[in-house]
Amino acid sequence: MTDYLLLLVGTVLVNNFVLVKFLGLCPFMGVSSRTETAIGMSFATTFVMTIASLLSYIVNTYILVPLGLEYLTTMMFILVIAVVVQFTEMVVHKTSANLYRLLGIFLPLITTNCAVLGVALLNIYEQHNFLESIVYGFGAAVGFSLVLIMFSAMREKLANADIPKPFKGSAIAMITAGLMSLAFMGFTGLVKL
């Protein structure tokens, strides 16, 4: 139990996917201009990441490995992720048209969110078991969500700031993300696995 908890905390804070591993930066920059959107994106990504890591584990362990087709992992995982994302998109479209509109292009783009594929591949790389894979996927998603939501709240404030012209928009967002990354360095060594 403690192991799983540590793994979770470790993935959320210490090895944060966005600020430490620098994965999933595209939606991190793209959907962070409003908190509302960011929260929606977080839920969608959390769902996709958890399900994708679960499915990819199953596909890998029960189909690819027995058949000796490990070289197909990347291709297969992309397939899995694409399906999960597409499915999520349909559900979101049906249940919350507003969120669907807010997320816009970034919803289908979860497919290409490298964090999702990253989770699936890292699960294999780190030889996680079934439960660990799910926890890892979930943890990564929570970490992503945490910084995304904080970042969006900051950006809402920055939108009204008197930023020098050349730094307006993405530039200052990048700098902010950099400073956030600095702050997250503080968690280094927090969990020794």
Partner: protein, 671 residues
């Protein structure tokens, strides 16, 4: 509810969030009695002096009015009449700068007093018990009483509430610095005030009457306590001094511990609040039949030699009062109507005292250095949060400020901008010296305008859709009709009756005629320009019209009297309507042409075009010419009348293009 009263009797009150303690500066005027000032040379009475709509004008320029005579009247509950403050003559009814922060002009009555100060007939009421509640409300309504604390809400609306009233709260807090008008009024006229409270009591029959007064007015408190000692129902509540205790919502919270829910009137909580000066006015109106024509105004500030409270007639220009109180003639004037926290600076000293004017402030530069007039001292917000600490509405002023600057209306609404009472506490404490209240006001007016636009857009959309639907409906109906007609025709043709045959032949004939005509026109085309009789007739008609228009213009210039045209009118009785219309069309066409030409400055072309027409006009018989002349005159008269109307309308719509039109007339003449 008992507990509230028990608490109050123990001297325990609730408190509201925040609040500030600005320097009170009441000592300037508090030790001097209310002075009566003489009648000024001219009184300026804005038609609207309260929140709501203005009533209908009852007098004209030149009318003599008596003191207390109603000048406007209306049956609308939100319209409050105004009365002549003294006897005199109405010298003008025109736009003048009103007592409003914008310094914009609105319709005002100008009265030149005759100095006699003659009253209209008055009915002094000796026995209040004889009057029913409705009589009382009628009297309040016809006396033109609106809230005298600052907002100016019509009093009769407040007192004719149907809710069950638990508390009648009399607001004597007077929390703004400098102002002592209510203080002095209480000290000098407390019996009348008590009468007013009793009148309100009989109308509203509340369970309790609470008088809220700040503890910085010891003499007034003593007087009030003595006057109300015999009345068990009335509680004089002495409140700790804190700005803005006198705010309606704040005072309710202090006295009853209840918050007025957003967007709801206090009466829904069973609470009605009246200003103490309003009580005095009510007593005066009901008992002495004196409408609201004067009020106590605190004229204060260290720039004055003799700051004092004065009895001022409504309509007295501010400059006159300041003069009376010894205002030095300076180059730079800073005059504030209202207190230093919520008042507004005036762009001219000709602004009149109105029903809501409780103070006129002329501060010296040391007192109030007006940092916001230049705006240089404003620095960025450091989010210190002092503003939210003092905000009586528990808003987040600094976040509101951010959103107001970014014009994020959605966020502003989310932050409850419209709950801001504009008390100014936030801007008062702001270390960055940001004029916060001004940002909110701008944002509020923008949001209001946006809402208006949205409503309008929605309305326009509905109308557009309706129109589109109507057009398609018409189209379908037309098509349907055509189809039906065609079908009917077809049916008849097929039926083979003689009637049908004749119709068919008629159709055939018509077709043949059309063909023939076409052929004819083809043949005639080259010679068409010569003299096809029909065409000539038409042309000459047009030409005549144009000529008429010209004649009309000439007539207008020569300023021919209207009587003459009337004479002509009788002569040409039968032909009048047709002529009238023709001339009108002609005039319009001519004018339009002239304008177009003038614009393009193609003088030569005009000559070429006009000459043949003019020539042809010559051919028109003499008799007709005179007739034409007359017709033109009529047209001119009509045009003149219309121009007047137009001018009136445009005056309403402000910016007028009429200059443009009148300027172009001579131009067209020159062509």
């Amino acid at each position: 509810m008992g507990s509230v009263i028990e608490r109050i009797k123990r001297g325990h009150f609730w408190t509201f969030h925040g609040g500030i303690h600005p320097p009170e500066q009441k000592f300037l005027t508090t030790d001097k009695p209310i002075r009566a000032v003489s009648i000024p040379e001219q009184l300026i009475l804005p038609l609207q002096q309260h929140i709501g709509i203005s009533a209908d004008l009852q007098v004209n320029v030149g009318d003599k009015v008596l003191k207390g005579q109603a000048l406007t009247k209306s049956t609308h509950p939100m319209a409050v009449p105004i009365h002549a403050p003294t006897s005199g003559t109405i010298t003008a009814i025109k736009n003048a700068v009103i007592a409003h922060p914008s310094g914009l002009s609105e319709l005002c009555l100008f009265i030149t007093p005759d100095g006699e100060d003659r009253w209209r007939e008055r009915k002094i009421c000796t026995d209040l018990a004889k009057l029913t509640d409705n009589d009382l409300i009628d009297k309040i309504s016809s006396a033109g009483i609106s809230g005298m604390g600052g907002a100016g809400f019509p009093t009769q609306v407040k007192v004719s509430t149907h809710e069950k009233i638990k508390f009648l709260i009399i607001n004597a807090a007077e929390c703004e610095p400098y102002i002592t008008a209510d203080d002095l009024l209480i000290r000098e006229h407390s019996p009348s005030i008590l009468d007013g409270i009793n009148i309100l009591d009989s109308i509203l029959s509340p369970e309790h009457i609470l008088i809220g007064i700040e503890d910085n007015k010891p003499e007034a408190i003593k007087v009030l306590q003595q006057t109300t000692a015999n009345n068990e129902k009335i509680q004089v509540c002495v409140l700790p001094t804190k700005y803005p205790t006198g705010g309606e919502k704040q005072l309710i919270q202090i006295l009853t511990g209840q918050e007025v829910p957003a967007g709801v009137l206090p009466s829904s909580l069973g609470i009605v609040m009246q200003n103490i000066a309003t009580c005095f006015a009510i007593a005066d109106a009901v008992i002495n039949d004196i409408p609201l024509i004067k009020r106590v105004v605190t004229v204060s500030g260290q720039a004055l030699q003799k700051p004092q409270n004065v009895w001022s007639l409504l309509g007295t220009p501010v400059g006159y009062l300041l003069e009376q109180c010894g205002y030095p003639n300076k180059d730079k004037k800073h005059i504030i109507m209202g207190g230093p926290m919520m008042g507004y600076s005036l762009p001219t000293d000709q602004v009149p005292v109105v029903k809501t004017t409780n103070c006129i402030l002329a501060p010296s530069e040391i007192e109030i250095s007006s940092p916001y007039s230049t705006g240089t001292r404003e620095v960025e917000c450091i989010r210190c949060g002092q503003c939210s600490d003092v905000c009586p509405a528990q808003l987040l002023p600094q976040e509101l400020q951010w959103s107001a600057k970014a014009k994020d209306h959605q966020q502003l609404n989310k932050l409850n901008l419209f709950d801001c009472i504009e008390c100014g506490a936030c801007a008062y404490v702001c270390p960055s010296q940001i004029p916060l209240v001004n940002y909110y006001r701008i944002a509020k007016s923008e949001i209001r305008q946006q809402t208006q636009l949205d409503i309008k857009a929605e309305h326009a959309k509905v109308r557009f859709e309706a129109r589109k639907e109507r057009l398609t409906r018409d189209k379908i109906a037309r098509e349907e009709k055509q189809r039906a007609a065609a079908a009917a025709r077809k049916a008849r043709m097929n039926s083979g009756t003689t009637e049908a045959k004749s119709e068919m032949s008629a159709v055939a004939q018509a077709l043949a005629r059309v063909k023939a005509k076409k052929a004819q026109t083809k043949v005639q085309a080259p010679i068409n320009q010569e003299t096809p009789t029909a065409n000539v007739a038409q042309k000459s008609q047009v030409a005549a019209a144009i000529a008429r228009a010209k004649a009309k213009k000439l007539a207008a210039q020569q300023n021919i009297a209207v009587e003459k045209t009337i004479l002509v009118d009788q002569n040409t009785d039968t032909s009048k309507p047709a002529v009238d219309k023709k001339a009108k069309i002609a005039a319009a066409v001519a004018k339009a042409k002239a304008r177009k030409f003038a614009d393009k400055a193609h003088v030569k072309n005009v000559n070429v075009d006009d000459k043949p027409i003019d020539d042809k006009v010559e051919q028109v018989s003499n008799t007709e010419k005179t007739l034409v002349d007359k017709k033109a005159k009529i047209a001119a008269a009509v045009a003149k009348a219309k121009a007047r109307k137009l001018a009136e309308q445009q005056a309403k719509l402000a910016a007028t293009p009429s200059n443009e039109i009148t300027n172009e007339k001579p131009k067209s003449e020159s062509t």
